[in-house]
Symmetry: C2
Subunit: 318 residues, 2 copies
């Protein structure tokens, strides 16, 4: 059995997962950001104690721990180079974790963990080359080449949220403008939804805004599905930039599949159909997006399942 | 000793190369396109006979043959799937070559051969992840991940000439519009040079056009180096689109180096400086183009040297 922690800026998803990828128990608790590193490490230990107790599992049955982090990771050294949302810089996380938990531990970028999960048990099964894109508050990505996570220099591989897609675009958190993340993430849809209302565009989102004081990407997707023209335009714009970015990524590594997950992927056809249409528009004629682009299958569990896979692969090669 | 053939639509570059990458003899002869496949195979045999005779080398000293082809290649099967310039489709080239030459033969896309060459003996030494871009009549690319050529689905990986960089761009040979190839290849520079003259722009290229009836990319680069504003604008536009495409490619695989070769790379700083400037403009702040983007070092020999490496690696694993 493996202990897996998918660490986010908001929540820690934790799971007890066996070698075959089956999840025996999972927890979702708010990340204790204030306490910083020590606080999070203590949370890891507390969750482990609780899960072992609740499942009557003894420590000897835990063979290793996997940790997914939203940031740049040096997997070999077990160091988190930078995790902006956590405020971590050059944290020797596997070494530190060893002070709290007596298991061999392995760390990986969270998007890469999700990619490993989808390759093992999800939409990427039977493919050796895979690209996974996560459409959430930001846009992350994981690249698997020949069955192995490809990190690239300083872990930059797959950081597709910062692919430039638009001239004179909005300012991104990264400091640049026109990044994919500012045009096609869940936050981007929410932003453009609110903007439409503020600009006085005729849209049912105006009522949402009046009721809730804010608009979410889910509101925009639902309005688009309902036939709201302004919302459809926002979704189509996001799909345009996604199709553009995915087509260009494809020409670099031509993976067997591009798997799209994250909260926004729940939109389904209303997002995937135009993404595939634009992907085809921007790709060589022979390349068919409908054979390449698929929604992720594992939802929020992809990361944890990928972490179990990571631990499993690493223990085998130790 | 290995027999290496870098086959182009215009010329066959052939070489006798030893295991350490040293070229003992090379030939450059026009490709006999009319005779199609049989004609080319006969040329391969004739060149081999001549080179062996001129160097007093007996057949027993040739351990294998490597073949670089401008098109899509299934390396494992030894099949050229499509080579537009040669008019080849699904040609089982290594099997056919065996009827003419009694050596184990291996085939690879020409841009991938050049990438292998630059990794072995050129600008990519000591790097395991490498991207090589060739700026010629078209724009090709080779991707090496973890020391191995990465072909991707149907050999599409690295086909970066068809990355979309411009809305409402010119029609490309591939049928799409706004491809990198139509904006930043040697032909693109020549096209925009002639266009400037036709449009009556004040430029020293007008005299070139009057004298030669045509303008080459070399003319444009030379005029730019001389200070001609119109030519500088053309080079800068090409550099802009290259910088854009390279920055976006980098976020996919983050290779240790991006090596740029091909005829246009001979332009040197006048091209590389703005390419790096635009690359940095479009990349995360921490990513420095001047540490990543380098001119190829092996010139026209890159392909042949890479082919020797290919044969060497393949014979070792046979």
């Amino acid at each position: 059995m493996y202990l897996c922690y998918d660490l986010g800026g908001t929540n820690i998803k934790a799971g007890l997962i066996d070698k075959s990828g089956h999840i025996h128990n999972k927890k979702n608790i708010p990340t204790q950001v204030e306490g910083n590193l020590e606080g999070v490490l203590q949370q890891f230990k507390d969750i482990a104690d609780r899960m072992l107790e609740e499942n009557s599992i003894s420590k000897e049955h835990i063979l290793g721990a996997g940790l997914g982090v939203p940031g740049f990771v040096d997997m070999e050294k077990g160091v988190v180079t930078t995790a902006v949302n956590l405020g971590w810089h050059d944290v020797p996380i596997t070494k530190r974790l060893a002070e709290y938990l007596p298991y061999p531990a392995f760390v990986i970028n969270d998007a890469n963990a999700a990619a490993l999960g989808e390759m093992w048990k999800g939409a990427g099964q039977n493919y050796r080359d895979l690209m996974c894109i996560t459409l959430g508050t930001g846009i992350g990505g994981g690249v698997i080449i020949n069955g192995t996570v490809h990190n690239g220099t300083n872990g930059y591989a797959g950081e597709v949220g910062h692919i430039r897609v638009k001239d004179h675009g909005r300012r991104c958190n990264c400091g640049k403008t026109g990044c994919l993340e500012t045009e096609a993430s869940a936050s981007a849809l929410a932003f453009y939804g609110e903007k439409a209302v503020r600009d006085g565009v005729a849209t049912m989102l105006a009522d949402k805004m009046k009721d809730a004081g804010t608009i979410t990407s889910k509101d925009v997707v639902e309005a688009a599905a309902f036939g709201d023209a302004a919302a459809q335009e926002i979704v189509n714009q996001a799909a345009y930039y996604l199709g553009f970015a995915l087509a260009n990524m494809y020409m670099v590594i031509a993976p067997g599949r591009i798997v799209i997950g994250g909260g926004l992927a729940a939109a389904g056809d209303i997002l995937f159909k135009p993404v595939i249409k634009w992907f085809n528009e921007f790709s060589l004629t022979e390349i068919k997006g409908e054979e390449i682009i698929y929604p992720a299958q594992l939802g929020n569990d992809a990361g944890m399942i990928g972490l179990a896979r990571l631990v499993d692969l690493n223990l085998k090669t130790l």
